[in-house]
């Protein structure tokens, strides 16, 4: 989806924040949110890709309120979608924890996804050979799915070169929607900065890992 999360190349976010060596969690709730997000994946019968997409679906203005705030709202999205915990239950429980009187809503009906897993993690072996070789000229396809994808806007319809073949992996675009693992070959594709940002941009090379269905041969 073309959401706020797809930030590569956007302008208007200002100066970078200071490098600092602060603790991983600025407050205890951030640590709790971190753990809860990971535990929610299992509790809702989802997977890492569905969790990333659940965070992407956080409304844009709320997405920008902070990493663990959106992480936590993503966890709630997963739990609601699977019928584990409803939004109404969260609201009521929050009210009660704040000392207000709130009736506990009825529990929702479970509707967990049941996508078969090909094993732990996301690396998979494929029988089919990769379609592209190191050195091949490729172009990213003009894809605009409304669901999850790992093809960012800023590299769509751009010409690059395959620099490395990475291990084949579960296809996020499919797994995030519980349509199966559909593992794919993955390529590190290099783009010249001018291909992405036009003449006059800084000279550099951008390398990004792209799944085979995102690519076509460059002609």
């Amino acid at each position: 989806m073309d959401g706020i999360h797809d930030m590569g190349g956007m302008q208007g976010f200002g100066h970078t924040r200071a490098l600092d060596a602060g603790p991983p969690f600025a407050a205890h709730w951030e640590g709790q949110a971190f753990a809860l997000g990971l535990l929610a994946i299992r509790a809702s019968g989802a997977n890492l890709h569905a969790f990333r997409h659940a965070i992407e679906r956080v409304p844009a203005a709320r997405y920008l309120t902070g990493y663990y705030a959106r992480w936590l709202m993503g966890a709630q999205n997963l739990l609601r979608d699977s019928g584990v915990v409803s939004d109404e239950e969260v609201t009521a429980r929050a009210a009660r924890l704040s000392g207000q009187d709130a009736a506990e809503p009825a529990r929702p009906e479970l509707r967990k996804p049941d996508m078969p897993s090909g094993g732990p993690g996301n690396l998979r072996s494929l029988d089919s050979p990769p379609a592209f070789a190191v050195g091949d000229a490729v172009r990213t396809r003009d894809l605009h799915p409304s669901g999850h994808t790992r093809l960012p806007r800023y590299v769509r319809r751009r010409a690059g070169t395959v620099a490395a073949i990475q291990p084949a992996q579960v296809f996020p675009d499919s797994a995030a929607h519980f349509r199966g693992e559909d593992p794919q070959h993955v390529y590190s594709v290099e783009f010249a900065s001018a291909e992405l940002w036009g003449a006059g941009c800084e000279p550099f090379t951008l390398s990004i890992d792209l799944f085979e269905p995102y690519l076509e041969p460059a002609t």
């Binding site: 956007m10 976010f13 535990l39 709202m73 429980r93 960012p152």
Partner: protein
Amino acid sequence: MTAAQEHLDPALRVEALASLLTERGLIDPATVETFIKTYEQSVGPMNGAKVVARAWADPDYRARLLADGTAAIAELGFKGPQGEHIVVLENTPAVHNVVVCTLCSCYPWPVLGLPPSWYKDPSYRSRVVREPRAVLAEFGLELADDVAVKVFDSSSEVRYMVLPERPAGTEGMSEEELAALVTRDAMVGVAAVGAP
């Protein structure tokens, strides 16, 4: 989510969710605290610093690390979530590598722990793939024009870690002393390791 639900204070949201999930036997509060302690105490950039120090001290290890990062890092006992396949990028006088995840904030947890605020911030995620030299300069790293810059956007399950250049004046230092010089920022590629 309704507007009211969207605006729930996150500290209260986490309490509400934890309380409901605990009641349903779906999470154990002790597990939550274990996760927090793990990433506060055991998994962090001190792990990556040991990898870098070993690579600086041992040319055979360095070769293994660059050929198969995941396996060489596992030799030192570091593996786990977000470390399924780690590629190590070697910074040299001619090439400077820097890592980002524009779509979320993917980061090599087993060697660097959880990402710092600046890495997750929209300013870094949006800008480093468009004007990396300007971003690095803001962080205090000025690169000469003849240094090639390579930006790696972590968009699959491959995780990247930078092997910084060993600073001058560190000859004869022990691995432990070397590791103490290595910073998280240098292993993401937004800083150099300073001379002792």
